[in-house]
Amino acid sequence: MAAGLVAASVVLITLVIGIRGVAAMRSTSDFLVASRRVTPLLNAAAVSGEYLSAASFLGIAGLVVKDGVGALWYPVGFAAGYIAMLVLVAAPMRRSGALTVPDFAEARLASPRLRKLAAVVVLVIGGLYLVPQFRTAGLVLSVVSATPYWVGVVLAGTAVATTLALGGMRAATYVQAFQFCLKLVLFIVPAIWLVLTAGAEVRDAAVQPTEFTHFSQDTPVTFRVDVTLDVEQPITAFTREGEPTRLSEGTHRMAADSTLVFPGGARVPEVAGVSPPGSPGWERPLLDFAGAGHPLLGTMAVLIATMLGTMGLPHVIMRFHTSPDGRAARRTAAITVTLLSVFYLFPGVYGVLGSVLVPQLYLAGATDTAVVALPMQVDTGWQGTLFTALLTGGAFAAFLATSLGLLLASAGAVAYDLAPAGLGRLRLAVVALATVVVCLALFAAHLDAGVLVTWAFTVAASTFSPMLVLGIWWPKLTAPGAICGVLAGLLASSGAIAVTLFGPHVSGWLAILLAQPAPWTVPLAYLTMVLVSLRGRPPAWSMPAMLRLHLAEEPAPPAARHRDRTAR
């Protein structure tokens, strides 16, 4: 109940700041001035606020519990993305005057077809990124308040769509900057409290992982998805009502939303395809997908996707536009690296504590809820309740800020790039898209937030990253080249993901290249773009179109003819 209250107050405070932000903007005579006042620090806080999604707040710790310490490569890649952004994209993108990637496509290459294609890519990335946000909201709500999964998903979708359709069209900067501070505090303070309160025994166990083989005490497990358990020794478990159920040797299928209480001392049943927390290899700092046996390749795949994908995220690119000039945009990226680095020191703390205190979540298919499940394991009194509530609030802030930005970017792609329409249609697009994403999220309960989000990064890295990097740094890029490259990257990356989701089971390095296709789809997209461009001839204006992206704004105009440049 307390958790619900905190989540509700996060939504309320967000609304209040949003409304106040709008009022502050209106009071200035010229909206342009207000916008140019967005300092790099404020903007970096807003970028980080929008960027730290449910995947960062809950997903990474959940993946550490499930896959091992190697999952900490995800945040490294997430933060490194802003170095790539700083070096390659931030200042030229701001100087192009383009607001979204489809905008940039048209400004640099003058191709309406490329613009429409880019809008489709925005929708794919938006979908892959939004589904885990809504899914995790549903999962967290079902853990803290015992509601069914779908209730949380629908509530989350309704809250985001309503906020956006009613008032979210303006002045999001202050909201997102506030949410960054909120998330930082709500993540770091409970982490320190957990480490201090957990006791020396738990701390020692956390740094010396042992395989989760026996339940240390009576442990209730609520299965969030259908799970097949492989029981080695017969167990007498209990239902929620206290009825004994005997699990004989062999496989048992557990329906989603059922609960079993496993007695302390019983041997932990195995879950097909997943190794328990603390098993050999868990402590290795590399990512090995599905036991494929190629940890180096798996780690590199995630790093390529996350580092190169960041620059193509539609909701992040948008935020850089609120900087007054290219210099401030670059500065924003540098501060963002700093702010994210502070945040990303802590998911590992939750991860290793989670593997000791709540390893049973891996049976339930709910490792993403490890962060919010931890406080009650350390303290069952008011402190535990309080910190559960705080972390739930932080998780909601995470999912809210990201979803708002993504939904707006996706709605913009529909109502601005694909089917030009007015404000009314934009609102309609928001509601329609939210409905589609809610429906998708209802069937995505078994997919980890971190994995889904990495797919969004993979698609961005295979489509927008080559288009932006080559568009900004290579004058010979042509519109047909960009179209072919984006198409190749989009089809290859989404095709590989579709095969992973719906196709036959594969193993070995092929499994990695299908589940994390960045190592081949990114070079494929770059190569296609370069080769097709080289076959054609760039138009005469191609060189000035590229060079003007690198022309710094005059800090103080020495001559009259530069006057209008500073207004940009």
Partner: protein, 122 residues
């Protein structure tokens, strides 16, 4: 960029711009042009930023892709402990962040220095 291309882009919040989008939809696309002076300046800035950017990216790539190789070559790092914590955990969970922050600010300073008036005209 100045007299010749008079298309001005208003700076506003992304949200506002989207909401206002229908007013500037499908405006005529203008050929980008640069003054000869500006073109020279832009060409020099482009080259400088490119060479500096490549160094920074190479350093980041070395850190990111080198560390997994180190972990593969030296599995013993997982056995050695510092203050009770495995060294490889510290190398992964803590070390990259200060280095990346340092890289970001180093590159920021170099990119800004490349745009300073003295450097720009020289």
């Amino acid at each position: 960029m100045n007299k010749t291309a008079s298309k001005r882009v208003a700076v506003m919040s992304p949200q506002t711009r989207l909401a206002h989008s229908r007013r500037r939809l499908r405006g005529p696309w203008r050929t980008p042009r640069l003054d000869p002076g500006d073109a020279d300046r832009a060409q020099r800035a482009y080259r400088r930023q490119r060479s500096r950017g490549i160094t920074a990216l190479a350093a980041t790539a070395l850190l990111l892709f080198g560390l997994p190789v180190v972990f593969t070559m030296l599995p013993a790092l997982t056995e050695v402990r510092l203050l009770g914590v495995r060294v490889s955990w510290l190398l992964l969970a803590v070390l990259p962040y200060p280095i990346m922050v340092g890289l970001a600010w180093w590159q920021l300073r170099r990119a800004e220095a490349a745009e300073d008036p003295g450097e720009r005209d020289g």
